[in-house]
C-alpha cells in the first residue's frame, strides 16, 4: 500500500511539474512584451528597461522558470497586471466559492446518479430504464450554458426565492449563499448525473449477470440486501474511477456555469483574467485548479485501492 501511495504521489508531482512547465512555456514562446502590456503603448524605452529589470525578464529561461515555480510554491503568486492587487488572497477567496459550488454538486449528484443508474439497471428494458436512458442522453447533449439558461428562464422567473443571477459578495457564508447556489448546482448536477448514471447502469448490469448474485438470491436474501451488499460494492469500483474523471468534467462545466449565473468563483475570474490579458492571474488560476484536480484524482485512486484488495499487490 505504501509503495502504491508513493507511486501515485510521484505521478501527481509529475503532473503538476509538466503542467507548470506548460503554463510557463506557453507564456514564454509567444511574442509580446509583458512590460509593454503593463505600461501601455506610450511608455518610453527607459521605463520598459527598468520594468524588465524589476521583473528579472532578462535572465535565462530556466532560471526564470525555477524562480517562478519556487515563488508559486512559497505562495508568492505575484500581482495582477490588471488591478495591481496581490493575486493570492483574491484567488483563494474565489477558490472557496468554487469549492462550495462543486461540493454541493457532488453531494447531490453522485448518490442520486448511482441510485438512478441502479434503478435503470434493475429495471433493464422496462419503461423506467428507457426514460432514464433517454433523459440522460438528452441532457448529455446539451452544453452547460444551454441547460443553465433553460433553468433560469423556466425556473428562476417562476420561483420567487430562487435568484436568476447568483452574483454574491465573495466572502458570503454557505447558509446565506444557498438560494443562489441552487440553480448553478442543479445545472452541474444534471450534466454529471447523466454521465455517472449511464456508467453505473452499465456496471450494475454486468454484475447482475455474475454467479454470486444468483447464489445470494437462491440463499433467500431479500432483493435489496443482494443489491446493496453484494452488487453495489462491486459495481461501485468502476464508478469511483468515473467520478474521478467527471471531476475534470465538473471543472470545465463550472467555468461555464459560473459565467452563466455570474457566480463569483474561480471560473468567472479566469474569464476576467483572459479578457484583461492578466497573465499572472491566469497562470495562478490554472496551476491552482490543476493541483486541486490532481488531489481529487489521488483521493479517488486511494479510495479505489482501499475498496479493492486486488490492487494492493502490485
Amino acid at each position: 500500500m505504501l509503495i502504491y501511495l508513493l507511486r501515485r504521489l510521484g505521478f501527481l508531482g509529475l503532473t503538476v511539474v509538466v503542467t507548470s512547465l506548460l503554463v510557463f512555456l506557453i507564456a514564454q514562446v509567444l511574442p509580446g512584451d509583458v512590460c509593454r502590456v503593463i505600461l501601455g503603448r506610450e511608455a518610453g524605452e527607459a521605463r520598459i528597461a527598468e520594468c524588465r529589470a524589476d521583473l528579472h525578464l532578462d535572465d535565462p529561461a530556466p532560471v526564470r522558470y525555477l524562480r517562478w515555480l519556487a515563488d508559486f510554491a512559497r505562495g508568492d503568486w505575484g500581482e495582477s497586471y490588471a488591478t495591481g492587487f496581490e493575486i493570492r488572497p483574491l484567488v483563494l477567496d474565489r477558490l472557496r466559492m468554487s469549492l462550495m459550488l462543486a461540493g454541493l454538486t457532488f453531494v447531490v449528484a453522485v448518490p442520486l446518479a448511482v441510485a438512478l443508474g441502479m434503478l435503470a439497471a434493475v429495471n433493464r428494458g422496462k419503461w423506467l430504464d428507457t426514460v432514464i436512458s433517454l433523459g440522460s442522453l438528452a441532457v448529455v447533449g446539451l452544453p452547460e450554458f444551454v441547460t443553465g439558461i433553460l433553468l433560469i428562464e423556466l425556473v428562476a422567473f417562476r420561483v420567487p426565492w430562487l435568484p436568476a443571477s447568483s452574483s454574491l459578495p465573495v466572502g458570503a457564508p454557505f447558509r446565506a449563499a444557498l438560494p443562489a447556489l441552487v440553480l448553478p448546482a442543479l445545472t452541474a448536477t444534471l450534466v454529471l448525473l447523466a454521465y455517472i448514471a449511464r456508467l453505473t447502469r452499465a456496471g450494475v448490469v454486468e454484475e447482475l449477470k455474475q454467479n454470486y448474485v444468483r447464489t445470494a438470491e437462491l440463499k433467500g436474501l431479500p432483493r435489496l440486501t443482494v443489491l446493496v451488499k453484494h452488487v453495489l460494492r462491486n459495481a461501485l469500483l468502476p464508478t469511483i474511477t468515473v467520478v474521478a474523471i467527471s471531476a475534470g468534467w465538473l471543472v470545465s462545466g463550472l467555468v461555464v456555469i459560473e459565467n452563466v449565473f455570474n457566480y463569483p468563483g474561480l471560473g468567472r475570474l479566469l474569464v476576467f483574467a483572459i479578457d484583461r490579458r492578466d497573465l499572472p492571474a491566469l497562470q495562478a488560476i490554472v496551476m491552482l485548479t490543476v493541483v486541486a484536480f490532481a488531489l481529487a484524482n489521488l483521493a479517488a485512486d486511494l479510495l479505489y485501492a482501499a475498496l479493492n484488495p486486488r490492487i494492493r499487490v502490485g
Binding site: 503554463v23 446539451l142 471543472v251 490579458r277
Partner: protein, 309 residues
C-alpha cells in the same frame, strides 16, 4: 504445423476472389452501418443536414449574416424572418445557416488535424516502443490530467495576451482551431497506440517485416487498417466534443469574436438582450444542441457496430 504449399496457393486464390471486399463494398458496408438502427440513422441524418447547411448555407441564406434590415428590428419569427431578427436587426435564420460553416470548419477541421497528428504519433509511439513510447505516454498522461476547457482557456488566454484582438486570424478562430488540435491529439494517439500494441506482434505484420517491406508500408498498409474502426468511433466522438467545446468557448466570449455568426457567441449576445429578442438566443442554442446530440448518436451507433464485430 507445417502448411503444404498447395494450401497456401488455394488460400491466396480465395482471397483474390471474394474474401477481401473492394473499397466500394467496404464503403457500402460502412454507410449501411450509419443507418443500421433508428437512433444511429437519426444521428447520421442530423449530421448530413448540418453538413449540407455548412456547404450551401451562405448560398441559401435569404439575407447577409451581417446585414442589418433596418425596417425590421427585433422582429419575432414570422414568414419573412423564420427565426426573427436580433437586436441589431440581423436575420437570425441567415446567421444560424452561415454559422454552420464556421462550426463545421472549426470543430471538424480541428478534429481532423487532431486525428491525423494523433494517428501519426500513436503509430510511431506504439511501433517504436522503448523510451520514446514511455516518454510520449507520460507526457500525454499529464496533458490529459488537465481538464480540456482549462487547457483551451490557458492557450487562448495566452494567445490573446500576446496578440490581442488585432490579428484577424485569431479573432476568426485560428486560436480555437489550434486549441482543438492540441487538446485532442493525445487522446487519439492513445487509442491508435493501443491498437498498434495489440497487432504489432501478429504474424501478418511479422511476415511483412520478413519480406523486407518498408517501414511506411508496414505502418500504413499493415497496421493502420486494423486501427481504422476504433479511429472512426474516436473521430466521431471527438467531433461531438469539439462542437461542445467550440460553442462553450464562443459563449464565454474567448473564441471567435463578433460579428462572426458563431453559434455559441450568438447565444451569448442573444442572452444579453433576452428580454427583447429571446428568439435570437433560443435558435442558435437549439442548433448547437441538435448537432451535439446528432454527433453523439452517430458515435454511439458506430461504437455498437464495432463491438458487434
Amino acid at each position: 504445423m507445417l502448411r503444404p504449399y498447395w494450401r497456401i496457393v488455394i488460400q491466396a486464390q480465395l482471397t483474390e476472389n471474394s474474401i477481401i471486399p473492394t473499397a466500394g463494398q467496404r464503403f457500402l458496408r460502412f454507410a449501411r452501418r450509419l443507418f443500421a438502427d433508428f437512433p444511429t440513422a437519426l444521428g447520421t441524418s442530423i449530421m448530413l443536414l448540418f453538413v449540407l447547411a455548412a456547404v450551401f448555407g451562405p448560398l441559401l441564406a435569404p439575407y447577409g449574416f451581417n446585414q442589418s434590415i433596418y425596417e425590421h428590428p427585433r422582429q419575432p419569427p414570422d414568414s419573412s424572418h423564420w427565426f426573427g431578427t436580433d437586436h441589431l436587426a440581423r436575420d437570425v435564420f441567415s446567421r444560424v445557416l452561415v454559422g454552420a460553416r464556421s462550426v463545421l470548419l472549426l470543430a471538424g477541421g480541428g478534429t481532423l488535424v487532431a486525428v491525423a497528428l494523433g494517428t501519426l504519433v500513436g503509430l510511431a509511439s506504439g511501433y517504436a516502443g522503448g523510451w520514446l513510447d514511455e516518454l510520449l505516454m507520460r507526457l500525454f498522461d499529464s496533458l490529459l490530467a488537465l481538464p480540456a476547457l482549462l487547457l483551451a482557456l490557458l492557450l487562448l488566454g495566452t494567445l490573446r495576451a500576446a496578440y490581442g484582438e488585432s490579428v484577424s486570424a485569431v479573432s476568426k478562430g485560428l486560436g480555437v482551431f489550434l486549441v482543438l488540435a492540441v487538446v485532442y491529439t493525445p487522446i487519439v494517439a492513445r487509442v491508435v497506440r493501443s491498437v498498434v500494441l495489440a497487432v504489432k506482434t501478429r504474424s501478418y505484420v511479422e511476415a511483412a517485416r520478413l519480406q523486407g517491406e518498408s517501414l511506411g508500408w508496414i505502418l500504413f498498409r499493415e497496421i493502420l487498417p486494423a486501427a481504422l474502426p476504433a479511429l472512426a468511433v474516436e473521430a466521431a466522438l471527438r467531433f461531438s466534443y469539439a462542437i461542445f467545446l467550440t460553442s462553450s468557448l464562443g459563449y464565454l466570449g474567448v473564441g471567435v469574436q463578433p460579428p462572426n455568426p458563431d453559434w455559441g457567441l450568438m447565444v451569448n449576445e442573444g442572452r444579453r438582450n433576452v428580454s427583447q429578442v429571446p428568439w435570437a438566443m433560443w435558435f442558435p442554442a437549439a442548433a448547437i444542441s441538435l448537432v451535439v446530440v446528432g454527433a453523439n448518436l452517430m458515435a454511439d451507433g458506430l461504437k455498437r457496430a464495432l463491438r458487434e464485430e
